[in-house]
Symmetry: C2
Subunit: 671 residues, 2 copies
């Protein structure tokens, strides 16, 4: 019986997620009554393929014991890996069968050792060998026929027995198993394979309109000019230099004028106010147009090409809603909800009214044409060369829409990546990931204590979430200037960046507000004062106190260390000081250990109890920890380590663990 | 969206198990985009029924917070219970829908509080009320029509608003929801409902043939006589008096003579040796016959009736194998495996040979008639009045056979209970439970340390196993005299009985060997010396050192305390002494706390750190613990308690927690 094939989400109804180049580890339980020996294979294919590829399953009970296996308390499972070397949907399943030859050979060996007569057994073995010969071809068929003859020959008992139990016979028989009674797993499971950036990415959000020259930012009365996309290109070098690989732009479409919001979200705008980019649509066009003040579609394509030349992908914001001036409103009133008096229903979260925004009626009578049109927005921008989308508030649109939209888009464009901007009930965020979103914003923004961070990470890493929910950690966004940044110090910004960049394979900042440590909020809120959503800003990124060097170093460390590019292998290590959090990330032979002082005001020291096996270290090992932030090395040994972190200097260590190497030269001792 | 309905095993392919009278708690996630209010119902029915019953789902987020909910870290789920008041298969599923009226009323209330004009909202509400009226009947329809009119009347705004938000309106609208766009769970899940004894049972295994009169047992040369079933009836009063409710008999069929085993499993038997009851079949008949030395079929029915009159069910052993003399061997050679020389294959576990036993060929050419015949054995004995079967070595027969056999038997006889005697790989034991066995023997027999017992219990209670795997804990069996009993003291036997009887709702002993503390093994083995499997024994159950009083008290405590009748609510409490294990079991308002000294030689004392919420106790509570074994009471308070246990007196406490009750009389202070 083939049972409990895994990873398996929702009984097989939800696909797991992987990125190209991953090896997918599949585990399964093979069961049979009695003492029969088993064998099996993993089957896998691209969903579009007809033929299955097969690779043999191995039995974990035959592996050398490891601390990981011991901790599981279960070694009675089978496993194999397959490489996903193409984008799109893959399928996997498992077959198992009784290995009749192994069962027979095991019994034969025991009976021989006991001195029993095995005449009858050899006759049975000859039949098995002859049957295998009939399945084999060429020289191997001939070898199997010779085996059958040797076992049949009563005059050459000893030779026959020896040949039957020889390792080469075992290999030969294993190559031609009798699979006539094999059992296949009833489930065919699916893996959706996406580009590496779906898992490992570093985002920088910027408002291109705030990129005009003369960015002194010192005189607030000197009102900034609206920049074009061409002018914004000047920022790309800076962003690439900081090591980011995705530059994310708020919506670039024409902005509505009716009910346009003024500075700091005030209900009325003055003539010069640029409006919120999320109030999409005006006389100049809707979701498929470029705001004239930013430039033309050609300018956008130029921006895209310049970014790509600098190693940056451009992520576009897709907000599926319309300003009252959006062409859709006149052309397709049937796509909106109408109130009892016939007027179009604006967005609201009672008692709040958002009269500058009309939501679509996803379940209305014209839902089919609406859905088609909305999908065509993504198609349009993919046609312009965009591959990454940040989707605004997907949780206020129906899940069936997303399943349909994302599934069909990914079928045409498996290279496309979708980030869900959903800050809502955790289960709805998870449902969006299952519906096809590649990444998701998370509650990291508000998780600040050791307990909160540990619990939150574990809820992903130690559960099924790790198979489909890919976090993207943001210390800030234009919508959120969290409390800890408002009241924090420079060390708070650094600590939050280190945590985001090392706890999650994907992270992002809203800049330059982040690296310039902007921390003034509208009183009593978590919103930036003078929020760029409603007004133009100037930023002096050359300021000497900018955190740009720290961000650059963090992104460099992330690129150099595979352990930071995946969530698997995350372990928290005990510290005796609640202000110190310590965790490690491990991938293959790359072991990173991070220690952060969560108190931005005081120096803290303490002892860490290291989980040495998790770091691939022996119990009494001596080893080096190399702080990649400060480029300082320490010698540690055993499971207890002392650390001290002064936030006035640097609130974090990002250690690479370097193990002893036996060479002749002392300076080569460490990797 | 209706997601993650649970309990759900193997994506819905495996039924959960319950017993009659249980309330089945079903949980589910209901999800919708945006801020809409949700409602839903649990649907359930007997599988044979056409109509679903429905009961409303409640939202856990609206429950008062409890330590249990806090520990889950998730209150965003819906739940409801249904009562299973009939045996057999039940089905359950879930429906969810947007509660349009609640969503509307919530928005209305907020807008009114904000002083907004709600003229349009009231018109919408009138439409909703009118639609509900069309779904309603009688006076409620009239009330809903009045509501619609009130909301439509611009002259009676205030009255309309008040009526709209009145609690009775909410209840009325909730009774007639618009379910036209409801979503049902795609899965229909199944629960198999069995008699209470499937979960809660106390077994006593005895060899009826060892029940002959004159049971002095003092003179071994005085060879015992083979007793009949009629004589064995004399034992039933004793067993019932000990509080057991299942008396389990080894096979009662004719025993083979060819290759019959002698005393202590010697390969040859003397003429007077009775043979192993598991070598089934001889000239006198096979699996449907009674061994003539035990009596007739009528005697067996008489035994059954006498047992039932004493409150005992009889469990019959079914071992699907044949002695060489079994009638099947001559009549149906096609049901056996034939070796290369045409002889029938005996059982073997190389190099061991069991020439007294022929296994059946479950996958052979005549498998269909074989399976039918084997199932007919169960049917035959059910026809005689048997409802409980202990199945010998089910793991050496194919899982598909058991699925087919047990499913069809349970369809005809949902009252039947099947105990799997499978000591094999845990996953195969679990697969047998999924295939339909009601209970299973376990590794308890060899789990002796605090860590082993804790880990083993947790592996059931904290996993899906609790939904389908029902343990039956045996300190000994005729096959197993475990090492700890061989080298133990009287306290070992008591401690093992307490652990088995309080850790598992089902337990059993092989007696009188257990209560008489028989501990002599064949050297170097875990087999009893002079094993009753191969020879007749005499037992003096009147011996003054018998543990009968302890077993009687344990079974009495089990009957009096619902907490010991189910596995849910098992919690382990920390002790600072490794020799002391402490756990609690809780059901409704019944809280039991067990402490056992695992060292049979030394007095041990130590501090317990109590999980007070698990015992339904407040942080600084004072309470009484009443040792039900010794009938001694102690006053405890707070989360730390001191215990001392001397194995020479009694190695265990079985405490009932008795909470303070405010009454006027001091002697009524405790329950």
């Amino acid at each position: 019986m083939v049972d409990a094939i895994r990873p398996c989400l929702d009984g097989g109804r939800t696909a797991i997620k992987r990125v190209i180049g991953d090896r997918v580890r599949v585990e399964v339980d093979l069961l049979v009554d009695g003492h029969d020996r088993l064998a099996g294979c993993l089957r896998y294919r691209q969903a579009s393929a007809v033929e299955w590829s097969e690779t043999p399953l191995l039995w974990a009970a035959q592996l050398p014991p490891t601390p990981q296996l011991e901790a599981r308390g279960d070694r009675d499972f089978w496993y194999a890996d397959f490489l996903v070397d193409a984008l799109g949907i893959w399928e996997y399943g498992v077959c198992g069968w009784v290995d009749v030859w192994q069962t027979w050979a095991w019994g034969l060996a025991r009976k021989l050792a006991d001195g029993q007569d095995v005449g009858l057994e050899l006759r049975t073995g000859a039949e098995l060998a002859a049957a295998a010969a009939a399945r084999a071809v060429g020289s191997e068929a001939a070898a199997l026929r010779r085996l059958a003859e040797a076992l049949r020959d009563p005059g050459a008992r000893a030779a026959g027995q020896k040949l039957a139990l020889a390792p080469e016979t075992e290999a030969l028989m294993r190559a031609y198993p009798d699979r006539s009674a094999e059992t296949a797993s009833s489930l065919i499971l699916r893996a959706i394979v996406e580009p590496v950036r779906a898992r490992f990415s570093s985002w920088y959000e910027m408002f291109p309109r705030s990129s005009a020259d003369g960015e002194s930012g010192d005189d607030p009365s000197d009102r900034p000019r609206h920049a074009t996309l061409r002018e914004a290109e000047s920022r790309l070098g800076y962003i690439a230099e900081l090591g980011f690989d995705v530059v994310y732009l708020p919506p670039i479409h024409p902005i509505g004028r009716t009910f346009r919001k003024g500075p700091d979200n005030s209900p009325t705008a003055s003539p010069g106010d640029p409006g919120s980019p999320w109030a999409i649509g005006g006389g100049e066009g809707g979701h498929k147009a470029v705001h004239p003040e930013l430039g033309t579609l050609e300018d956008f394509r130029h921006f895209l090409a310049t970014a790509r030349a600098a190693g940056l992908e451009v992520a576009l914001d897709v907000a599926l809603q319309a300003a009252p001036d959006h062409p859709y409103v006149k052309e397709h009133p049937e796509w909106f909800v109408h109130r009892a008096d016939g007027s179009i229903q604006y967005a609201e979260n009672p008692p709040k009214k958002y009269q500058d925004i009309y939501p679509f009626d996803f379940g209305g009578p014209a839902w089919e044409s609406l859905w088609e049109e909305l999908r065509s927005i993504f198609r349009f921008w993919i046609g312009q060369g965009v591959t990454i989308f940040r989707v605004d508030n997907p949780h206020t649109k129906p899940l069936p829409f997303w399943r349909w939209c994302l599934e069909s888009l990914k079928a045409e464009h498996p290279e496309a990546i979708f980030l869900a901007e959903a800050f809502t009930r955790p289960k709805l965020m998870q449902a969006l990931a299952k519906a096809g979103f590649s990444q998701s914003y998370t509650y990291f923004t508000w998780r600040t204590t050791k307990w909160e961070l540990t619990t939150y990470l574990r809820s992903i890493v130690d559960s099924d979430l790790k198979e489909y929910f890919r976090p993207n950690f943001w210390p800030n966004t234009p919508d959120i200037l969290p409390e800890q940044l408002q009241v924090g110090t420079r060390a708070t910004f650094i600590a939050r960046a280190v945590l985001a960049a090392t706890l999650s394979p994907s992270w992002g900042v809203y800049g330059p507000a982040f690296e310039l440590q902007e921390k003034t909020a509208r009183p009593g809120s978590e919103e930036y004062a003078h929020n760029e959503k409603y007004e133009l800003r100037r930023w002096n990124t050359a300021r000497p106190d900018s955190l740009a060097p720290v961000l650059r170093r963090l992104n460099e460390i992330r690129r150099d260390n595979p352990a930071l590019q995946t969530l698997t292998g995350t372990v928290f290590h005990e510290t005796d000081n609640p202000a110190l959090i310590c965790f490690s990330r491990v991938e293959d032979n790359n072991e990173l250990l991070v220690v952060v002082n969560l108190d931005p005001h005081n120096r803290h020291s303490g002892w860490i109890t290291l989980d040495l096996p998790a770091l691939h270290l022996a119990a009494q090992a001596s080893f080096q920890v190399h702080d990649l932030l400060a480029d300082v090395r320490y010698l540690w040994s055993g499971g207890r380590a002392f650390v001290a972190l002064d936030p006035a200097i640097m609130p974090a260590h990002v250690f690479r663990v370097r193990r002893y190497l036996r060479t002749e030269h002392a300076f080569e001792y460490y990797l």
